[in-house]
Symmetry: C2
Subunit: 190 residues, 2 copies
């Protein structure tokens, strides 16, 4: 019998981030993460494939929101407008209550090459989600792939601005400004 | 004393690819790769940090050629023209004598998530090289980052076309066509 543990993934992620911040990623074991939450190693591995994954929970939900927003974009699809709507829709994941977590999490990732590698893999799934959803809506190549890369760059840039301690703007506004700047840059480059 | 082994990295990479193709990446050990080349495990680790790295030799040379071409681009820098010159300069790594190796290597990477993750990390270094060299030449943000992403996408697309068994064009020509298509797509998107 598998015992149901309320919010186990969230509890494990929070404990992991605390331990990584205190001792460093390399000096923290999965057993220690589980122990701090009062859960077992087995429960950890039911939710996360490996130690790296514990900082990337919620990724599937993010990708789903992005893809659904592209699917719901009005006809005929204007790719960067659809990307913009999708990025704004993700603001639900980046409210003020998540800011401290996001800042601490990013500091841990930036200090560890293994985590940076996993982050790249996760970010690549955003590009794939954008690209596939745009193709599905009939956007031809290489426009779908290029728009997807612009969407990914806009997401990363908006996120970096959002976690900057000096930032005053909310995530949705940051995505709008970033994407506008990238659209202008694309016009200049082309 | 460290014994000098002529072409040790190349020999190790070729042996590794043979073994990965025959037995699969997961079923091949570093000891077996070294054994097949008549070298030691210690020699392997003098050249490659881990088993994944053995398929990514030559990456530093590629990044160097890209960055140097951007640095050498005529003033005032037109970012996509500079990227185009840089991509053409990499054609020296993608001659017909390398095609079979590249095809077999990509098949192994595509079959293994660990290798795909490492490939993303390597591809990300191309983007960083483009971006930093463009910034160095005075290209403002976010134009430098966007041009770098376009350069990365052009590189990946040209490479995928080059290893397609039906392809008849050389790598330099493929980079020109791919970048032209992306420039048009950027104009349409913007």
């Amino acid at each position: 019998m598998v015992r149901w543990e309320p919010n186990a993934p969230e509890r494990l992620s929070r404990a992991a981030l605390e331990l990584f911040t205190e001792r460093g990623y390399d000096n923290t074991t999965v057993a220690e993460i589980a122990e701090r939450t009062g859960l077992t190693k087995r429960t950890f591995f039911r939710h996360f494939a490996d130690k790296r994954e514990v900082l990337f929970g919620g990724q599937d939900a993010l990708v789903k929101v992005l893809a659904e927003a592209i699917t719901a974009a009005p006809d005929p699809v204007e790719p960067l407008a659809a990307i913009g709507a999708a990025l704004e829709a993700t603001a639900v994941f980046f409210g003020p209550e998540r800011l401290k977590w996001a800042q601490e999490r990013q500091a841990v990732i930036d200090a560890n090459p293994e985590l940076q590698e996993r982050e790249l893999l996760k970010l690549a799934t955003l590009t794939t989600a954008f690209r596939d959803a745009l193709r599905e809506r009939g956007v031809p190549e290489p426009g779908a792939s290029l728009a997807a890369e612009i969407g990914n760059l806009a997401f990363r840039t908006a996120f970096t601005r959002w976690i900057d301690p000096a930032n005053q703007l909310d995530f949705a506004e940051l995505t709008r400004r970033t994407l506008d700047e990238l659209r202008q840059a694309a016009a200049t480059l082309a």
